[in-house]
């Protein structure tokens, strides 16, 4: 029986010739990741396991990004605990504020993840790395601790849904619109316990930044992982982001699905049919095309995050904000995903465009996305955000609202003061 991309990667990492959906396996891990929220509990669990050293000091990655720059004393303590652990363990890949980025923007950029890897991260959006043809999935802190101790994790082999993409998306339609459209189609548990595997001739019209955004939100459809077929675009990206501290294992290569791979179902997505898409509160599946939105006044715009904090996202926002002003009484917060993206924004002139338009331009942090700091909302306030979740209270008060959209829609909305179509700017 043929295997999916995900199943082939899992089989290779479990030392098995074949795996099938539903089977429990133990797989070797290439990267084990945590942040300042999930890292400290993982470190405590690691200590309880009675292991002195992590399995590989090059493969455990710690990124303080959630409540950094430290929002309060508790956050500072969590970060200190993680930093002390990184020093004591001699970790190669601990990224301090000033060199860090939002973890899922940072790891691909640093070349720490590659095609064919098996990766766990104590953060649900770890599935982002599927864009590179890796198996990557979010876990909790105890899994992270076990991963640090043993270099392994247990998995139930998932079945999969195949998404067959065709055609070229229209000008203001990005990976964000495509994935919101798909989540609207299948629902927030439409891919529960399953893989979402993206293939088809439409792939060649999706940049790596588009794909990273799409794989990032696979978890918003309940999926275990999202994964893209490796093509020339992937290979060029991997080549351009080589890391001398990361020697990929032999099994790290492009895995295509078997011809007779068994999929639960195939969903055909014709990219030219997709319109700029917005997810209404309080679930990512509550999607509407921009043409159906109506007049919705907003108080805040957030552009950035692990979903949309890459250079293509900043460029889309800059194209729309150039020479224009953020609407009166609207707060527009722009967070590049990494220090490199920040620097590129300065070099490309985007930083100046943002500041002149009246937007706040910040250092990378997860703060506003989780209602943590740097952009918390009060009762009755509404945001258009390029982040990934619009759950009740996600960005602050339980009576505030989050509308998820692409950077282009968010930037257009910042100018108009209500949810707006970038085609009309």
């Amino acid at each position: 029986m043929g295997m999916t991309m995900t199943q082939k990667i899992l089989a290779a990492h479990a030392g098995l010739k074949e795996v099938r959906a539903g089977q429990f396996i133990e797989a070797d891990l290439d990267i084990v990741l945590a942040n300042d929220v999930t890292g400290p509990p993982a470190i405590k669990e690691f200590a309880k396991m009675g292991v002195k050293k992590v399995f590989d000091a090059d493969k455990v990655v710690l990124v303080p990004d959630h409540f950094t720059p430290n929002k309060d004393v508790n956050a500072a303590e969590n970060c200190k605990e993680m930093r002390d652990f990184a020093v004591a363990q001699g970790l190669t890949n601990y990224f301090e504020v000033g060199q860090m980025g939002i973890e899922h923007a940072l790891l691909p950029e640093k070349g720490l993840v590659t095609a064919g890897d098996a990766i766990i991260g104590a953060d649900s959006h770890t599935c982002t790395y599927g864009a590179l043809g890796a198996f990557a999935t979010g876990t909790g802190s105890t899994d992270m601790a076990a991963g640090m101790a043993t270099g392994k994790a247990w998995f139930k082999v998932p079945s999969a849904i195949r998404f067959e993409l065709s055609g070229r998306p229209s000008k203001w339609v990005s990976g964000k619109d495509v994935i919101l459209h798909i989540i609207g189609l299948i629902g927030v548990d439409g891919a529960l316990y399953q893989s979402m595997e993206f293939t088809g001739p439409g792939l060649k019209h999706l940049s790596m930044d588009d794909r990273l955004t799409m794989a990032n939100m696979a978890v918003e459809a309940g999926a275990k992982n999202g994964i893209f077929l490796v093509d020339e675009i992937t290979k060029a990206y991997i080549k351009a982001h080589k890391n001398k501290n990361r020697t990929p294992a032999k099994r790290a290569r492009a895995y295509a699905p078997d011809k007779d791979a068994v999929y639960e179902r195939t969903v055909s997505i014709h990219l030219p049919d997709i319109r700029p898409t917005v997810a209404f509160p309080h679930l990512p599946e509550n999607t509407k095309s921009i043409d159906e939105v109506g007049e919705i006044k907003i108080d805040q715009v957030v552009i950035g995050s692990c979903t949309n904090g890459r250079l293509a996202d900043m460029k889309a926002a800059a194209q729309i904000l150039k020479g224009r002003n953020v609407a009166k009484n609207v707060r527009c917060l722009i967070f590049p995903g990494t220090q490199q993206v920040y620097l590129d924004c300065v070099r490309e002139g985007y930083a100046e465009i943002f500041v002149k338009a009246g937007a706040a331009f910040s250092t990378p942090t997860c703060g506003p996305c989780i209602g943590g700091h740097m952009g918390v909302m009060t009762a009755g306030e509404r945001a258009v955000s390029t982040t990934n979740r619009n759950f009740v209270g996600r960005m602050g008060h339980v009576d505030s609202e989050v509308y998820l959209a692409s950077p282009a829609v968010a930037a257009a909305s910042a100018i108009k003061g209500c949810i707006a179509n970038p085609e009309e700017i």
């Binding site: 429990f24 929220v37 999930t38 400290p40 509990p41 405590k44 669990e45 309880k48 396991m49 009675g50 292991v51 959630h66 409540f67 929002k71 309060d72 508790n74 956050a75 969590n78 991260g121 104590a122 953060d123 649900s124 770890t126 979010g138 876990t139 909790g140 802190s141 105890t142 899994d143 601790a145 076990a146 101790a149 043993t150 247990w154 139930k156 927030v188 548990d189 529960l192 316990y193 978890v219 309940g222 275990k224 679930l283 989780i370 209602g371 943590g372 918390v376 979740r389 759950f391 009740v392 209270g393 996600r394 602050g396 339980v398």
Partner: protein
Amino acid sequence: MGKVFKYGSNVDTDVIIPARYLVTSDPAELAKHCMEDIDQDFTSRVKPGDIIVAGRNFGCGSSREHAPVAIKGAGVACVIAPSYGRIFYRNSFNMGMPILESGEAAEKISDGDEVEVEFATGLIRNVTTGESYQAEPFPPFISRLIESGGLVNYVKEGLPE
């Protein structure tokens, strides 16, 4: 036996424990804010041994283990739902809190019912109505995790002396 707190579908980890409280991982501290964004009375009413029954996709969203930690910290003995967010599912077993999958139980049990659960067999008894429901049996690997008391002990048992 415990009293049931019943909720709908897609209860996400942001309402189970809002991110603003994630600056600590202390179970008692997290328990103080458990469920507060969808049920302000939960923490004042919940007693040790009580049970959460919910609709499909319970615990969707973030990977924060703080969510099952908060639920366990609040004294909840068990969660019953037709399906779970997959990270919540594995987190619960990894930290030694069994959770049950049963669409029938989730549909038929009402808020406030008294319910008994037999983990070894997956039998759920509704003491209030006299009905009983059979949950999906645990796969052998999950049973081993439960027997070990969670992933920390499971790893310890597997390490060379």
